[in-house]
Symmetry: C2
Subunit: 193 residues, 2 copies
């Protein structure tokens, strides 16, 4: 059951962090849930270094506007992506920000999670995208965990599957262990900036 | 150099044919060419069986409308996708239709190519997406072949890389060997239907 229909998710970070794969897995899990889904990936010549984003729109009906304008869930894995995309969020939207961003930037009105540290502790920072996906899904309930796991089996190379599944589970746990005093954006779009 | 800016490409077929991967490789090759690129994938609950599409918009400037409305290049790998998407094409647009579609459906104003047969002759129908990608790029010149090859090395599993590279080259050859009496759509959108 979607918390809202259509439900807009924006995942942002930098090129090489696997944001696209996280978006595709989210999209295909939504399709398995019986939803209509549009997944959009934007690339600029600077995407490898600068901020990049992957967007997913989920709906029980046909999707008229496939581009995420104001996200209901926003993930920022880097400072650059936080600066570029961090300010736009729907009323009661959920903002998830990687903990390392807070070292250099003041972050308010967000769920701060040690996504990258968690992936490193599992043995490889490359799995940060699946930690993040676990947290996004635990917080939003947008798609079923079972269908995410099944899509991971289809999309991830066998050698990396175990690591990625553990990363996904850790991402879910991060949310349940974190400080639940965080309140989803009560003031509507653009709050906190 | 793009034939037109923005340049819209729609790849269509059925779920499981690797249309998404072809779109991603096209998009990332465009980014390596220094272009702005938006890649969009739509999924419906029926996408595994019905018609599915992957769209790529390429531009030298920022892309204002990320969704392909009228494609400049249209690929249809199945009858269902031809029926659903085959009728919309820009003036002077290029329509590429899989030869097997012509067994059951009358196809006019299109470049008819034996994409699936070519992939089978290479040993695996799964490579049809890369044959198609080779033909799309040979016909449109939208992105550089070198950057497609480099992106394939990044995106395709090592075990399948050789097969996919050969498929891509065969797709390029298909175009140069085919009947060049085909004229790109001279009458503008919706012609031929």
């Amino acid at each position: 059951m979607l918390p809202k229909d259509p439900f807009n998710i924006r995942l942002s970070g930098r090129g090489g962090q696997g944001i696209l794969l996280a978006g595709i897995i989210l999209a295909e899990a939504g399709m398995k849930d019986g939803l209509n889904v549009v997944q959009t990936q934007s690339y600029g010549p600077q995407a490898r270094l600068g901020a990049s984003k992957s967007e997913v729109v989920l709906s029980g009906s046909e999707i008229a506007f496939p581009e995420v304008d104001i996200p209901d869930v926003l993930l920022c894995l880097t400072i650059d992506s936080y600066v570029k995309y961090g300010g736009t969020l729907s009323k009661d939207g959920i903002r998830i920000v990687e903990k390392m961003v807070t070292i250099e930037e003041e972050v308010e009105d967000a769920m701060i999670l040690p996504v990258i540290e968690t992936a490193r502790a599992l043995g490889d920072e490359i799995a940060a995208n699946m930690v993040a996906l676990g947290s996004v899904i635990a917080l939003s309930g947008a798609v079923s965990k079972e269908h995410v796991m099944r899509t991971m089996e289809e999309r991830i190379k066998p050698d990396y599957l175990e690591l990625n599944k553990r990363a996904f589970q850790k991402g879910i746990q991060l949310v349940s262990q974190s400080d639940m005093s965080y309140q989803a954006n009560p003031d509507g779009a653009k709050s906190g900036f």
